[in-house]
């Protein structure tokens, strides 16, 4: 057995495997508003991230996603309590001062807030929050940037644009902070429309200058040297891939949303995938680029992806068999425990052991390196 097949051999798992696993868990979460499987999915992502994240800066992003998810739930509940129209139930928790609105608008501001409405909002918010955490877990385990390295040759230009955008967003933020600090030095307290204009000018100018610098550097290093193919082949590739992607999205939507019928769903999925396949195949013939040290796709990748697929499949099957367990008729009842789905989701936990451990960073211990980084960026900013 070659070392990359061993789950104990320390290496970075292929980011594609992590994203597939996370997308499967997100799909599972998307099919239910029962808090039991939802919280289970959340716990699974948290445990796997804690067990298998690396020392890289993006590995800390799960916490940020978790916070964002909590904010999302709170907003959902607040809006439901304040604005809900007819969804309030009989169990009134408290009564807010209300604002009379014209009956024709169908709106309600304030008034009674019932337990049912709050719980319903919580469950719906939780579903969205858990899906968000799945994305956060994928990003923490296999960063979106690393995933972009595996964009097929035909989509190379698009991939580069995404990478550049991912670099520029944080730089814009740090530029803005620097320029704001400079405003203080000129005696502005940074409020009002004028302040925004004064902030925008230097930041945008800086961003533009940096883009030009980057473009020059890429040109000087041979970017696009080997990809000058015939215009027609480029057009055909683009059309096939983008068109296929659209059809594929429709297919996925049809599959996940059971109200859709007809050609949506499985047929679109197949047609879209085929178009993309052909497009990528045609496109990859024209690129003369090579790839440095691609992550291998070995046994652990199959296992991690498999765990995700099992979790998603178990939930989908269980939803089909016992739909009442997944969309609660009465939110105030104690939510039932769908056994098959929960077991399936627990299989999604296995990557915490099946994925290879991330290699330790060379040199200084991770604690020291991280603190240095923070200091340096702050000082530079």
């Amino acid at each position: 057995m070659r070392p990359q097949h061993l789950p104990t051999f320390p290496r970075a798992l292929h980011p594609g495997a992590w994203w597939l696993w996370a997308v499967c868990l997100a799909a599972a979460a998307g099919r239910t508003q029962n808090p039991v499987p939802l919280l289970l999915v959340l716990a699974v992502t948290a445990v796997v991230v804690a067990a298998r994240r690396s020392a890289a800066p993006w590995a800390r992003s799960y916490g940020a996603f978790l916070k964002l998810a909590l904010v999302l739930i709170v907003i959902r509940i607040a809006f439901q309590a304040l604005l809900s129209t007819g969804a309030q139930g009989p169990t009134v928790l408290f009564t807010l001062p209300s604002l009379p609105m014209p009956a024709s608008s169908g709106l309600k501001l304030g008034g009674d807030v019932s337990l049912e409405a709050v719980l319903r909002a919580f469950y719906e918010g939780l579903q969205l929050a858990v899906i968000l955490c799945c994305v956060g877990a994928a990003n923490a385990l296999g960063s979106a940037r690393r995933l972009l390295r595996y964009v097929p040759g035909a989509l190379y230009e698009v991939g580069v644009a995404c990478v550049v955008a991912l670099t520029f967003a944080p730089q814009l933020v740090s530029d803005a902070a620097r320029v704001r600090a400079a405003h203080r030095l000129r005696g502005h307290d940074g409020a009002g429309l004028g302040a925004l204009k004064r902030l925008a000018m230097p930041v945008l100018e800086g961003a533009l200058e940096r883009s030009v610098d980057l473009a020059a550097a890429m040109d000087a290093r041979g970017y696009g040297r080997t990809t000058d193919a015939a215009r027609v082949s480029r057009r055909v590739t683009g059309l096939l891939v983008v068109g296929g992607l659209l059809v594929l999205c429709v297919g996925v939507y049809g599959l996940l949303d059971d109200t859709a019928t007809g050609p949506l769903g499985a047929p679109s999925l197949v047609v879209g995938a085929a178009a993309i396949g052909v497009g990528l195949r045609v496109g990859s013939r024209r690129t003369g680029r090579t790839r440095y040290r691609p992550d291998p796709w070995a046994l652990p990748e199959w296992l991690v992806t498999g765990c995700g697929v099992v979790a998603a499949a178990a939930v989908l099957v269980d939803v089909h068999l016992h739909p009442a367990d997944f969309f609660l008729a009465s939110v105030t009842d104690v939510p039932p425990v769908p056994l098959l789905a929960c077991l399936g989701i627990l299989v999604g936990l296995l990557p915490a052991f099946l994925a290879p451990p991330p290699p330790l960073p060379v040199g200084e211990p991770p604690e020291r390196r991280r603190s240095d980084v923070r200091e340096k960026t702050e000082v530079a900013g």
């Binding site: 990478v163 030095l185 000129r186 005696g187 550097a217 440095y292």
Partner: protein, 540 residues
């Protein structure tokens, strides 16, 4: 290897060419140094070598530029990527990927080299540049010196025969600069690489150069052996200026050469005294006591106590990341002290409203253009008058005094680095703060602009100029020698030295200016001091 035959460049919309009629040959294995005033076209010259001018920048190229047998008229920059490695001014702006290893591989991926070749070359380059420990590090987390080395490594992996570097050490502290230059030296000597290098800080690089190309104001070029070209050059390192003052022939380029010739000069100077630093006021403009500033769990400044008195120019030195910028930021209230106290004019800066703060302390940040946002110089000055609440025209008068002869309708971005710095300085000075802070003011300034800055700083601290106190953070030891009355050295957030300039810098291997190294143990710091003292001997 590099042949320029009557090369000239004119950019669209400008009347005068940036470069004209340049005939230059750089043979294989040579290190050629491009020098000249700011804005004399150094960057443009470097960019013609790999075709970025005119293919990328636009403009018209006259004459011929032939690189390794390829004419840049018919070869785009990407077609030259395998023979010319180009490293721009800001390494971070040229990084495409996010980790060291991927960045080293990027160029080879673009050229379509096979996987095993790429793997081997990345390993070789990691070793060659001493980056093996950092292979998986994110690029943004590296120190400036490491980033520069990665930028060099990233173009070396395609095995170019020519390396073109635009100011590789301008942002580095003296030791990190040594590191990068030592690497270059090794590449030239061990690999026979041809290197074309532009640099403002000649004192760091001139001893490595085989040929110096001096760009003149008219766009032409003079080239030849370093000692010949520098004899009459308007830009020259202090050791050369000392050689001119002492009338040495051949002109020394290194401290070692100068030291060997300096016996008689030292004997003459032994009886003379360098000018004593002018007495400073007693009034304290800014002070801190036991100051601690933290970012999370990292203490960037740990227990620093010092004060700056009116009329003083205090230089703050130390390696990148030693806490210099943080200390300055605390003095202008951009950082709150975690413990200890900081005061400017007796008030706590972080509690002041911005409008009150600018009357106590002013700072020119590392990137002076952060302070500027109007579309013309004139409007910028008017806005600064309003911000500071002073009579209309105050800022403009200041700017005219610091940088005469600049049209008011020019865009601040079109000014040279030095002019932009003086504009930002005028804006800050408009409110007449007793304490002025400067963060790395000499980045990108040539010797002439630096001399001008020294004059300005002396003027500001004199009683007639307002008796301002100045605290400047810098890596530039020659500037410190010229202008500072006192030096603070920081390391790891602590103050490790605080004393008169001569006392602190003369004995330090990293921070001693060249003249001090030549004339040690005598405490002379600048060629001007020596010239004045010698004139005193001859005159009576």
């Amino acid at each position: 290897m590099i042949e320029l035959d009557g090369a000239g460049v004119t950019f669209a919309g400008s009347q005068a060419p940036v470069l004209r009629g340049i005939d230059l040959v750089v043979p294989e294995g040579e290190l050629a140094l491009v020098v000249g005033r700011t804005g004399s076209g150094k960057t443009t010259l470097l960019r013609t070598v790999n075709g970025l001018v005119p293919h990328f920048s636009g403009g018209t190229l006259h004459g011929r530029v032939v690189v390794a047998g390829r004419d840049t008229r018919t070869h785009r920059p990407r077609d030259l990527a395998d023979v010319v490695g180009h490293v721009g001014q800001d390494p971070l702006a040229g990084f495409v990927t996010d980790t060291v290893e991927d960045e080293l591989a990027y160029g080879m991926e673009s050229l379509g080299l096979p996987a095993d070749v790429m793997r081997r070359r990345v390993e070789e380059t990691l070793d060659l540049l001493g980056l093996a420990d950092l292979r998986a590090s994110p690029l943004a987390d590296l120190s400036a010196g490491q980033q520069q080395r990665v930028a060099i490594g990233s173009v070396l992996t395609t095995h170019p025969r020519i390396l073109v570097l635009d100011e590789p050490t301008s942002a580095l502290d003296p030791l990190a600069a040594e590191e990068v230059l030592a690497t270059l030296q090794r590449l030239v000597h061990d690999l026979g690489l041809t290197v074309l290098l532009a640099e403002h800080r000649l004192e760091r690089v001139v001893q490595y150069a085989d040929q110096v190309v001096l760009l003149t104001a008219s766009g032409g070029a003079v080239h030849g052996a370093p000692a010949d070209v520098l004899r009459d050059s308007p830009v020259a390192p202090p050791v050369v200026e000392l050689g001119r003052v002492a009338g040495w022939d051949p002109l020394p380029l290194t401290v070692r050469d100068a030291r060997r010739q300096s016996g008689p000069l030292r004997a003459t100077l032994a009886d003379l005294q360098p000018p004593a630093p002018s007495a400073t006021g007693r009034e304290t403009a800014g002070a801190c006591r036991d100051l601690v500033v933290r970012y999370g769990r990292v203490a960037a400044v740990q227990g620093v106590s010092t004060q700056v008195a009116a009329g003083e120019v205090v230089a703050l030195m130390g390696r990148n990341g030693a806490g210099k910028s943080t200390l300055l930021k605390t003095f202008v209230g951009l950082q709150r002290p975690a413990a200890g106290s900081v005061t400017v004019g007796g008030l706590e800066p972080h509690r002041l409203r911005p409008s009150a703060l600018v009357r106590q302390v002013g700072m020119v940040p590392q990137v002076p253009s952060d302070l500027l946002y109007s579309s013309t110089v004139g409007r910028e000055c008017e806005q600064a008058d309003r911000d500071a609440g002073v009579a209309a025209g105050t800022t403009l008068d200041l700017f005219r005094r610091l940088s005469p002869g600049i049209p008011l309708d020019q865009h601040p971005r079109d000014l040279s680095e030095g002019q932009r710095l003086t504009l930002a300085l005028s804006v800050v000075l408009a409110a007449r703060p007793p304490l002025i802070l400067l963060d790395e003011p000499t980045r990108g300034l040539d010797y002439t602009a630096k001399h001008r800055l020294v004059e300005i700083l002396r003027d500001l601290t004199s009683a007639e100029g307002g008796g301002h106190a100045v605290l400047l953070a810098t890596h530039d030891v020659e500037l410190v020698a010229e202008v500072a009355t006192r030096v603070l050295v920081m390391a790891d957030g602590e103050l490790v030295a605080d004393g008169p300039t001569a006392q602190v810098v003369v004995s330090s291997p990293a921070f001693a200016p060249q003249v001090a190294k030549v004339l040690a143990p005598q405490p002379w710091l600048t060629p001007t001091e020596v010239a004045v003292a010698l004139a005193g001997v001859v005159a009576p």
